[in-house]
């Protein structure tokens, strides 16, 4: 674990410590992501030659290449990467804040609330894709706010936040299950696909929305990443080191929930990315602390590769991407854990 030294920006107001292995790992993940991105443009029910695909990205190409690559595959692949980054970063923030490897935005009831919002719009009002996304966005935010406010009593103590989240989530899950069991089978199916998380027919609006959300929120989270590692030593210790605990925690929660909210509106509550990406990233980099950047990059790679697999595995017709993220992420995490534990580390 050799440090590469530190990088200072803005007259030293922002500084990072670079960790040599983290840099290598992030570089490797980026290369994998880029490779998957190119594959995503070329491969599909209609094969586009590599040259045509690349030209289509930069404007001039055949009509078919433009139709498939520029209007469908590129925005979908970008949405996948951006959603994955958002979920990975949000997961890392929550695991670090709660000091719990099971932490994810779902502990404040986010995923369940978003599902409730979407399921209500889908099953009770028969809404379309945009309305469903809005319903999910609103449902997730309302339940996260409700959990935070219910847990707020002389400071949202981490432990109480977790317990209130359990209670609210349970009610929301029960309500979702109630609606799904009472619905017509085709509607129940549509709701299930949404709950699993899917990137089917995601185009430029989703990609742009995701990019804007990341540009606004990721810098906020990164600026607080030092404070986040300090919070790890406990509230008293962090206060002693000059971190204003409660406001820092609130801003981090709001930013992480915001990232999850936009990601969920775009793709549904894709399972396990937020849970698995930070754990895998932490094991690859071997560095202590929250590891926000590697977690985000890994989330992006995981979601993009999973979406490729989801599209091709049962072609024609496709699986929702959440099925694959769960399977791929779970198997990979299990393998990493096995290797680590066999060799007596950790």
């Amino acid at each position: 674990m050799t440090a590469l030294g530190s990088v200072r920006l803005l007259d030293g107001r922002v500084s990072f410590r670079l960790h040599a292995r983290s840099v290598w790992v992030c570089g490797a993940i980026l290369v994998v992501t880029l490779g998957a991105l190119v594959t995503a443009l070329v491969v599909g029910d209609y094969h586009v030659p590599l040259g045509d695909a690349v030209r289509a990205v930069f404007g001039e190409s055949t009509r078919m290449a433009e139709l498939f690559v520029a209007r469908r595959r590129l925005p979908r692949a970008l949405t996948a990467v951006l959603v994955g980054i958002a979920l990975g970063v949000a997961g890392a923030v929550f695991q670090s804040l709660t000091r719990n490897p099971l932490g994810s935005p779902d502990i404040v009831g986010f995923g369940q609330g978003a599902s409730t919002g979407a399921v209500v719009v889908l099953l009770l009002f028969g809404g379309g894709a945009t309305q469903t996304a809005l319903g999910a966005f609103a449902g997730g935010l309302v339940s996260a706010a409700a959990v935070y406010l219910l847990a707020l009593k002389g400071g949202a103590h981490g432990y109480r936040l977790v317990l209130v989240g359990i209670g609210v989530s349970a009610m929301l899950i029960a309500f979702n299950n109630y609606l799904v069991t009472r619905a017509e089978l085709t509607d129940a199916r549509a709701a299930t696909v949404w709950i699993v998380g899917s990137l089917y027919e995601r185009r430029w609006p989703e990609a742009v929305l995701m990019a804007v959300a990341l540009l606004v929120l990721v810098p906020v989270v990164l600026a607080l990443s030092r404070a986040l590692s300090v919070l790890d030593i406990g509230d008293e210790g962090a206060t002693a080191l000059g971190v204003r605990v409660e406001p820092t925690r609130l801003v981090l929660i709001v930013a992480a929930v915001g990232l999850t909210a936009v990601a969920t509106a775009c793709a549904g509550p894709v399972a396990f990315v937020a849970l698995v990406a930070p754990q895998v990233a932490r094991r690859l980099t071997g560095s202590p602390g929250p590891g926000l950047v590697p977690a985000g990059l890994l989330g992006g790679a995981l979601l993009l590769i999973s979406d490729l697999v989801a599209q091709r595995l049962t072609s024609p017709g496709e699986l929702p991407v959440g099925v694959v993220t769960g399977a791929v992420g779970g198997v990979y995490l299990a393998w990493l854990l096995y290797r680590e534990w066999r060799s007596g580390r950790g």
Binding site: P101, A151, Y159, V162, L163, I166, M171, Y178, V323, V324
Partner: protein, 329 residues
């Protein structure tokens, strides 16, 4: 302030009350006198048959399943020292679900009685894999079990969704199983799972003292002569028995196992010798109460106990968590 033993007697009384309600109340109104008579001897009437063949087994099953879930949850949280750990964390619920959805999709099974062995088998295999992964290299510690459970559950849940989405028939049956309920569970189901539940409950209650010792931390526990590995393995086996059999009988009720131990700890503190019996009595109260409410709230249909449990239990749970200083693990 009541003493803890008085409280325990009150919990027992509440459980007896819930059990009587569960025998007396239902879609078909049976006079209380007939109900009480039918408990001892059948006069052959239809009312007596309903009570003896449907409500009594359903109530006994509710008591056992509830106690099993409460105990499994308390063991799991104590074993992993994690408040987010529900008994399903060992992969029990997701293993059972994967096996049930396979049984529906590939073997064409249709009812709770037919699912029982599949659910139980799936639960046991998943728990073995999680425990095996968690103890590779050396003994399984709390964080390891939580992580191993997360990884294996991720894969099993993904598989379960894939099968449901590929097969409408599986989706249609599975969406009712996953909710969890006691409706339609008769004597046949009870007879199959009761032995496992009873053994599991006894083992769990005997674990109270060793769990107290290892709660002091690994080093202190060892210094006091506790065999950490053996306690953890026994607890994991008990959780698998309890939660596997309960899930096989009634579907996955993760809410009960997750919350009742927290409620018990808020009442009696962190001493497992009290937490375990309180959990074992409070959990079936919640389950039976929910089951009774579910029978009468939406006539003529029933609302599944799994749903009512969360709707009734969650607000109580949130109020408790807000109102008291919760005893941490």
């Amino acid at each position: 302030m009541l003493s803890r033993s008085t409280g325990l007697v009150l919990c027992l009384a509440a459980l007896v009350g819930c059990a009587l309600l569960s025998v007396a109340v239902g879609a078909r109104s049976v006079p209380l006198s007939t109900v009480l008579e039918a408990l001892w001897s059948s006069d052959g009437s239809y009312d007596a048959l309903v009570v003896a063949q449907q409500r009594v087994p359903r109530t006994v099953l509710g008591v056992l399943v509830g106690a099993a879930l409460g105990l499994a949850g308390a063991l799991m949280q104590s074993l992993t020292r994690n408040p987010l750990a529900d008994p399903g964390l060992l992969g029990v619920n997701s293993g059972a679900a994967a096996a049930v959805v396979s049984a529906i999709a590939f073997l064409g099974l249709t009812g709770p009685l037919e699912y029982v062995w599949f659910a139980f088998g799936g639960a046991a295999v998943a728990a073995l894999v999680v425990y095996g992964l968690g103890s590779s290299g050396r003994a399984a510690g709390p964080v390891r079990l939580a992580l191993a459970g997360t990884a294996i559950s991720a894969v099993l849940v993904a598989y379960t969704y894939a099968v449901q989405l590929a097969d409408d028939k599986a989706l249609d049956q599975f969406r009712f199983w996953i909710v969890g309920g006691l409706a339609g569970r008769d004597m046949d189901v009870l007879v199959r799972v009761a032995p496992f539940l009873v053994v599991g409950i006894l083992v769990a209650l005997f674990l109270a003292r060793p769990l107290n010792v290892i709660a002091l931390g690994d080093e202190t526990g060892r210094a006091l002569g506790a065999n950490l590995g053996r306690v953890r393995l026994t607890a994991a086996a008990a959780i698998t028995l309890l939660c596997g059999a309960a899930t096989a009988a009634a579907g996955p009720f993760s809410f009960i196992g997750l919350t009742v131990p927290h409620i018990a700890r808020s009442l009696v503190g962190a001493d497992q010798r009290w937490v375990l019996p309180y959990s074992a009595l409070l959990a079936p109260c919640l389950l039976l109460g929910a089951d009774v409410v579910g029978r009468v709230v939406l006539p003529p249909s029933e609302l599944e106990a799994g749903l009512v449990t969360a709707f009734l239990g969650a607000p109580v749970f949130i109020a408790l968590v807000r109102g008291r200083k919760v005893a941490q693990l």
